[in-house]
Symmetry: C2
Subunit: 349 residues, 2 copies
DNA sequence: CTGAAAGCGCTTACAG
DNA sequence: CTGAAAGCGCTTACAG
């Protein structure tokens, strides 16, 4: 039977410290630290290693992250900052990052409202956690200025921002070119574009790449034919509803959206409004989310290699955190167009 | 012009400490701490408050999270653990949590592979961060045992696990009942069920609630007509492809999926296999993800109030972290069926 | 109202 | 190979 005091005691002092382990093993806390961190080579006797290991498992000791971080000056946390973490696209990126980071680092996601970047204050609070490294998805220059990077940072999908940090980019221009060609081949001459409200570089590139290629293919995108909304199905649907009458009158026959999520909104609203797709209006997006294959109609999209993006970025960051130099600080991954029914009634379903 | 040493200096000693602020303001670090934490009431003179504030903004001082956490014994981090964070459903939950938590706490997401829960070791490492509170989505009992909750915890969508911690649950049974009734009314008698491989309580409830209600409505779900896959469109599509021939032969005319994501997979594969929906096979899911309104056909689903879930859970946790008692430790939110074209060709689109 | 001091739990030169 | 000690940056009784 445990006495009341004993219970109280066990509740109160739940946390097992290195000192407790040291006492039990009959060594100093320095030795406990060495063993717990696997730095025993030539520094701790076999005998003491065994003693400490036993004590650790008997007591269930876990190195306290806070104390350790303070002493080392850095934690084992890797923070992934991105304005669009809840995008299904990111699920794959995250899976890739986790795989390449392995078990030595803990990945934590910093969340903001959809499409928003953390404010200066938020960034500072993040840095106050002393992360071992930072992964920043689809940033803008302003955010990177604020960051004033202390420690290893790798950017994901940050075209034109290579000066700030090593990055892994997507060659969205290639896919955008294919898309423009595809639409031109189908006879489209007046096209509208649905952009994101965030000043994110990747969206600027998607837009510019598409506009350039469109022009080269004889497609015209009028200045009033570019609208901007948050990355949200509903917001996009509403924006399209407001814009469509004028577009229709101007002879717009296709809409390109900077993300598939935007495209779903257009798709949804077009259905409500009774617009024939793709007959009356062709729709395409970027990302090739998993849902794009099953939407109604299925969505033509520029496929971006999400898993590779995460894998490569995580790998680069890991190298940096381990103190290595990057042989190739800038990496670029390919994109390509996937044609489906929203632009081509005869596309392979 | 800065000398080389000055630059070196500024690079090396980037971090501003309370001691530096104290020196500049001509006070002690204790006073700096009091001011930085807003605990000045009756403890610091107006004069010193102003001095310290000036020094803080001149130097750009930010309280170090690690040092602060170690001294206080707790950090300002709230960790959200969930096996399915990349599910679009969670985007809304997260938005709700953020709103209710406010700016005093930093929300970090713990990520695992889709549908997986963190291992015991991972949990310990999370706890070693000394989070101010923990939000655990759709957990199983095993995981909660491991947690051995130190500090405030609130569970989300954890039916039957109320004994472990305060929780906010969804009345999925209600929606499941509506779904069973809806299918029965449409004449379905043999129905299959696509479950999740995770032993998560919410999925057990969804399944049991549906099976019970189905039985009550004269619908039969044969033992071979329940399959399980990860929460992934592709995995679900493959599992359905393997199961469909036997189901078809057994006269199955409807499939209910434990998540809309599973349902998208079935939808996708059914299209490939040339199965008519809903004529030959009706399909329904749970969650009512934003994409379900635009899928092909649009997907009948049990709507779950994601934003409210996050709001309520965040609110409860906040109360706990502030040391209050919860008036109502158990909350339940309603669910309801949204009928679309995947079960009813004449549904309002 | 103020500051010196102890302490949070750990890691790392350092001396032996 | 080992341990005493300093130090990471902060907060909080405590004495004044």
């Amino acid at each position: 039977m445990e006495s009341a005091e004993q219970v109280q005691q066990s509740v109160r002092s739940r946390r097992i410290t290195a000192a407790m382990v040291a006492a039990r093993a009959g060594v100093s806390t320095a030795t406990v630290s060495l063993v717990a961190n696997g730095k025993t080579a030539g520094r701790v006797s076999e005998d003491n290693i065994a003693r400490v290991r036993d004590a650790i498992s008997e007591l269930g000791y876990v190195v306290d992250g806070i104390g350790s971080s303070l002493a080392k000056g850095v934690s084992s946390i890797v923070i992934l900052v991105s304005p669009d973490i809840s995008n299904p696209f990111f699920a794959k990126v995250i899976a890739g990052v986790r795989e390449s980071l392995g078990a030595d680092y803990q990945l934590l996601l910093s969340v903001t409202d959809a499409g928003e970047f953390p404010q200066a204050g938020d960034v500072r609070k993040l840095m106050a956690l002393r992360p071992a490294g930072l992964l920043v998805g689809a940033p803008n220059a302003e955010f990177l200025e604020e960051l004033s990077a202390a420690g290893p940072v790798v950017l994901l999908d940050a075209p034109g921002l290579e000066a700030y940090a090593p990055s892994v980019n997507l060659d969205v221009a290639h896919g955008a070119g294919e898309l423009a060609g595809h639409l031109a081949d189908a006879g489209h001459r007046q096209v509208a574009y649905v952009d994101s409200v965030t000043g994110t570089a990747t969206f600027a590139i998607r837009r510019e790449a598409f506009l350039d290629e469109a022009a080269a293919h004889g497609i015209s995108v009028g200045p009033g034919h570019i609208i901007r909304t948050t990355i949200d199905v509903g917001a996009s649907a509403a924006a399209f509803a407001a814009a469509w009458p004028a577009w229709q009158q101007a002879g717009v026959t296709a809409v390109v959206c900077c993300t598939d999520t935007h495209a779903y909104g257009v798709l949804q609203e077009a259905r409500v409004a009774g617009v024939q797709i793709p007959g009356q209006l062709a729709i395409a997006g970027f990302d090739d989310l998993p849902y794009s294959a099953t939407s109604n109609p299925s969505l033509t999209s520029v496929h971006l290699p999400a898993t590779s993006l995460g894998l490569k970025a995580g790998g680069q960051l890991r190298r940096l955190m381990e103190g290595h130099q990057l042989e190739q600080p800038q990496l670029t991954l390919e994109s390509s167009l996937v044609v489906r029914n929203s632009t081509s009634a005869t596309a392979p379903s």
